[in-house]
Every structure is written in structure tokens, then in C-alpha cells.
Amino acid sequence: MKKILALVLACVLALSMVACADTSNNGGNAAQTGDAQGNNDGAFTGYIKIGGIGPTTGGAASYGTAVMNAIKLAVDEINAAGGVNGMGFAFEWQDDEHNAEKAVNAYNTLMDNDMQVLIGTVTSAPCIAVVAEAKEDNIFMLTPSGSAVDSIAAPNAFRVCFSDPNQGVGAANYIKENNIGTKIAVIYNVSDPYSNGIYEKFKAQAATIGLEIVAAEAFTNDSATDFSVQIQKVKDSGADLLFLPIYYEAAALILTQADQANLDVAMFGCDGLDGVIGQLGDKAALAEGVMLLTPFAAIGATDEKDIAFTNAYKAAYKDEIPNQFAADAYDAVYIVKAAIEKAGVTDASISCSDLCDKIIEALDGLTFEGVTGTMTWDIETGEPNKTADAMVIKDGAYVAMSK
């Protein structure tokens, strides 16, 4: 009896929300997707509905937000430039809070709203859950940044970024071949599948090719502020190279604290490190000399496409510098566009499954030139074939490393 009032109130609230939701779905897909700003609205024969899933709240929100922003940017650009084969792109985003269960809920909502292509999910673990669903629906799924092997464990799932093992092995080989370091220390995030996955393969590859790992120090998402102990241990180990398979936020803190502790070693990272210059802000000088293997670099980009993308992104989102996630997502939209163009799909009312078959057929043999490099796909595995450039940070910008 006591709680009935509140419960009834909540019920009414929830029901009214659902009711509102229904009307908004029937009436205003355009409002939801923000695709109608293009002046040539109405010139399109129909809209291909792209869905996106990723964290825009919670601890991983910065990654999901970057992807969401970049997809929006690309969709708006494509619609403004006349669309694809006479069709426009519509876009709807759902938040998954970096949680597999919520990602599946988000996926179901998008399917209810007639999604035809999925760009997502952003983070690896939720991606694995969604892949299982997408496999049953046979919807084309292209994850910009889900880097775990299992993230694309379905014939209809592809990715834009590198896989974790690929990066771990690649980093070890690059260090060995170019003789960057002999005694390697590693600081990695044990609670993050990305970081953990790279480290595991890096370590195995290092043993195979004879790289010596003198220190391996972990941290977790819950203790990602204080790195003094890890840095001190790296210092004591006598390492000459510090390998950082982590994201740029933690890396910025490590660089700051390493500077305070007078740690003087070369540092080497993977694509997650991109963004570290912006993150350091006025202390960007600390990143001087940091090396990373990355297919995209916003600062100091020389490639025309990269510059155009960086400028467009900054103009659209309050001068924010696009990171790796944004670049991958931006490419993802253009990959879908290229594949649809090649497949010659002109009817936007095509079912997601038919569209998926056509896109995969088109992807076979397609060479795509995007901001994250030139790539082709292995149709069997869904992995992209592209090269990562070794960059070094010099005077606050990325410069290609001379071999």
C-alpha cells in the first residue's frame, strides 16, 4: 500500500515515454537522425538507415562520442553532396554505456526502427554480444573500433581498425626490425580487453623473436590515476624502451608522472595513443619523441584527406581534434557508401539481409582509400588489410619515422 503512489507515478511516466516514443518514431525519423539539413532533401529516392551503437555515457563515453560525431559528420557530408545512387543516408545512434547487455538492447531498438546497416559497436566486448544478434539477422555490420578477434566472429561482420593480435605482433616486429629498443618495459591496462589483448600477443611474439621484456606493470580502470609505482619499477628495471599499448588519457598521465619522476626512456605505443598531444594540452612538450604505430594522425597530417577530415571535424565539434575512433568511424560511413555504389543498389527499401549480401559482394576486391589509409578486406575473416605508419612526435606534431 505504502509505495503504490510512487509506483503508479513511475508507471505513468514510463508509459507516457513509450507512447511519446512511438509517435516520434512514426512522425520524425528525420528529426531523430539529423539528416535533413541537406538542402537537397526530397531529391533523394529514399534513405538507407544507418544505425550506430557505442558508449556516450559512462567511463568510455569519450570513445563512443567521437564515433557518433564522426558518423554524423560523414552522413551529413554525403547527403549534402547528393547521397549514394540517388539515395540519402539516415542515421540513428543508441547508447550502450560500454555494457554488452545494453548494447543488445540498443541493437534491438535500432532493428525495431528499421536499421539497414550497423556501424558499431565501438568497444570490443559489447561488440561480441551484438555480433551474435547481427549474425542471425544477416545485417551488414562494420565496427570502426572493436578490435578483439571475436568482435567480428560472423560472416557479415567487418572492421575498419586493426585487431589486437595484429597490433601486438606488429609492434614487437617493428621494434625488433628497426632496433628501437632491446630491453622493453610495458605498462598496460589489465582490465581493458584492448590493452590486455595487445600485451598478450606482444609478449608471445617478443619471446619468439628474442626481445627481452624486463618489466611488465599493470593498472586497472579503477586505478588509472596514480602510476608512480609502475614508473618507478620501469626506472629500476633499466629498460631502454617503454611500450604503452593503452589509450591516450592514461598515457597523458603516465607521461606527466614519468616527467616528475625523471624517467628517461623512449616510448612506443599503438593506435590508442593517438590523441595524446591534445590530451596533454599545454604540456604537449612531454610527448616529444614518443613513437606510435598508427594509420591516422590528426596533428601534422600531410595527406589531403586527413587534413580535410580534421578541419571538418574541428569545425563541426567546437575545435575538438578527432582521434583514432573518429577517423575509423568516418571511414566506416564512406566504406558503406563505396560498397553500395559499387553494388549498384538504388532502392532504399531493400531489406537489411539483401543489402548485406550485396555489400559483402561489393567489398570483395574493393580498394578503399580513407583517412586511415588504403585498405582491402579479407571477405572470409572480415579483417582489413592496411598498413600502420610508424610516427614520431616532433615539435608537437606527428612525423613519419625514417626507417
Binding site: T56, T57, G58, G59, A61, S62, G64, T65, V190, E217, A218, F219, T220, D222, S223, T225, D226, S228, V229, Q230, Q232, K233, K235, D236, E249, A252, L253, T256, Q260, A261, N262, Q279, L280, G281, D282, K283, E320
Partner: protein, 293 residues
């Protein structure tokens, strides 16, 4: 040996931050008997205010820091008035859940205003505050954090024991009903406690963000939990207990990272906590309360 000292100092530095936050927790718990789970998020808001003042509005530190503290006090008092005061007679759990709601609210408001990207925070402590002991370098932030937490601990102890308002707080903490009968304004005393607790959050926000120079909408969440742990560790409600609990927790965390396992250090810290509570069920300095029938 020198690395041991550097681990120790890093631990004390981390612990100083925990202690500072734990002092706020313990004040509110001791007097209002509620776990203010939104404390960490008040700290986060304070950090954003300082960030806005320093980086966006280009104000000097001596303006930014008071701004952050005042903002925290205002926020704390408003939260107390709107969300906690109506629940004065409700069960402690109801207040706890409301505090969690406030915590979600603050995080999501910050997310909407400042975005999800972690921002780079410019330290408010000048570089020349740092101290060198042989090969060990103690950063200025650590020095200021330790000094600030000791000073605050002493000031709070004096305040609680030697001023009229402080004694009123003790009385309210002891027996709310009896205090009211003695003519103490219980509501005002609890509001004052919140104001003080939030002021401490303001100080903590500036020092937390200076030591680990980044701020995001979730900056306050984890330090909040750790500091809550520290407050319990030291005996929740006890002012010196919060200080000791914070420092000990920081030292344990860093030593376990250094000597046992950096992968499992979170687990080790909590395991030590469980053991301490089993040996001393009311924390290091907690009072054993005899229950009245």
C-alpha cells in the same frame, strides 16, 4: 631501498588525496548519519569549476580555488536542502539511494555541459613547491596535499571540540532527539555539516585534479569509493581516523602494486580492509558504541 621510499612517498601522496576526501565523508556521516555517495561527484563539479576558471576564463589561481570551494559549498547546501532534508525522518537507506540518484544526476549534468572528453587540468601548485630528498623527488602537489589534509584535520578537530556549533554537532551526532530538546537547531546543524563537508570537497577537488591533471565527468567516482573505504578503514565518524585511514590505504595500495602484484592490487587493498574490519570491527580509530536498550 631508495625505491622503497619512493613507493612509500607515492603512497602517502595518493593517501593524502584519499584522506582529504575521506574527511568530508566522515564529517557528514558522523553527524548526519548518512553515507553521502554524491561526495565524489561534488568533487568532480568543483574540479570543473576550477578548470573553467583557470583554462577557459584565464583567471589566476587565487581566484579559481575560492571559486571552486564556494561552488562546492553552494552545491552541497542546495543538494542537502532539496534532496536530503525532506528525508530527515526516512530510513538511512532511502537517503543513501537518493544520494546515489544525486550522484548520477551530477555526472550526467557534467557530461552534457562539458562533454565526455577528459580535459587537461592545469595544476594550481607552482613547480617550485617540490622538495628533493636525495634521489627522491616529492612533487609540490604532494606537499600541499599532505599539509592541507593535516591542517584541515587539526582545524576540524578544534572546531568540533571547542566551538558552540561544533559542540552542537557532537550533540546531534550523539542523540538527535535529545539535542533537539536541549534547544539545538538540528536542521541547521546538519546543514552546516554539509556546508563544511562540501567545502572540504572543494579543496579536495582542486588538489585531486592538480595531482592527476585530468578531469572528466567520472573523475570523482572512483576516488569517492576509495575514500569512503578509507573513512570506514579509519573508523567512520572519526576525524583523525579518516586521515589515518586515507594515508594507510594509499600506502597499502602502492606497496601492493610494487611488491605483490600490479594486476591484483585492487583486490589486495580490499582484502586488507576486510581483515582489518574483522580484527577491529569499527575501524582503526572507531569508537565502540555501547547500545542502549
Amino acid at each position: 631501498m631508495s625505491s622503497f621510499f619512493s613507493y612509500l612517498i607515492a603512497g602517502i601522496s595518493l593517501g593524502g588525496i584519499y584522506a582529504l576526501i575521506a574527511l568530508g565523508y566522515t564529517m557528514v556521516y558522523g553527524i548526519a548519519k548518512m553515507l553521502n555517495f554524491a561526495h565524489g561527484d561534488v568533487i568532480m563539479i568543483g574540479g570543473y569549476v576550477a578548470f573553467t576558471a583557470i583554462s577557459t576564463m584565464q583567471q589566476p589561481v587565487w581566484i579559481a580555488v575560492p571559486c571552486a570551494i564556494i561552488a562546492c559549498i553552494l552545491l552541497g547546501v542546495v543538494i542537502e536542502k532539496v534532496a536530503y532534508k525532506p528525508l530527515r525522518s526516512a530510513t538511512p537507506l532511502a537517503v543513501l539511494i537518493t544520494a546515489i540518484g544525486v550522484s548520477y544526476l551530477l555526472q550526467n549534468v557534467a557530461l552534457l555541459i562539458f562533454g565526455s572528453q577528459a580535459r587537461n587540468f592545469t595544476s594550481v601548485v607552482p613547480d617550485d613547491f617540490s622538495v628533493s630528498l636525495g634521489s627522491i623527488n616529492i612533487s609540490g602537489e604532494t606537499v600541499v596535499t599532505i599539509l592541507a589534509s593535516v591542517a584541515i584535520m587539526v582545524a576540524l578537530t578544534l572546531f568540533v571540540n571547542h566551538t558552540k556549533s561544533g559542540k552542537a554537532m557532537q550533540a546531534v551526532s550523539e542523540d538527535r532527539g535529545a539535542a533537539q530538546l536541549m534547544g539545538i537547531n538540528v536542521n541547521r546543524t546538519i546543514s552546516l555539516t554539509f556546508a563544511i563537508g562540501s567545502a572540504l570537497a572543494g579543496v579536495a577537488s582542486v588538489l585531486l585534479c592538480s595531482t592527476y591533471p585530468q578531469i572528466s565527468p567520472y573523475t570523482g567516482a572512483m576516488p569517492g569509493i576509495k575514500a569512503f573505504t578509507a573513512a570506514v578503514f579509519g573508523g567512520i565518524g572519526s576525524i583523525p581516523g579518516a586521515m589515518i585511514g586515507g594515508v594507510v590505504l594509499g600506502v597499502i595500495e602502492n606497496l601492493s602494486k610494487a611488491y605483490i602484484s600490479s594486476e591484483l592490487s585492487d583486490a589486495i587493498v580490499f582484502a586488507v580492509l576486510i581483515i582489518v574490519l574483522l580484527v577491529k570491527p569499527t575501524g582503526l580509530l572507531g569508537k565502540k558504541i555501547n547500545e542502549k536498550v
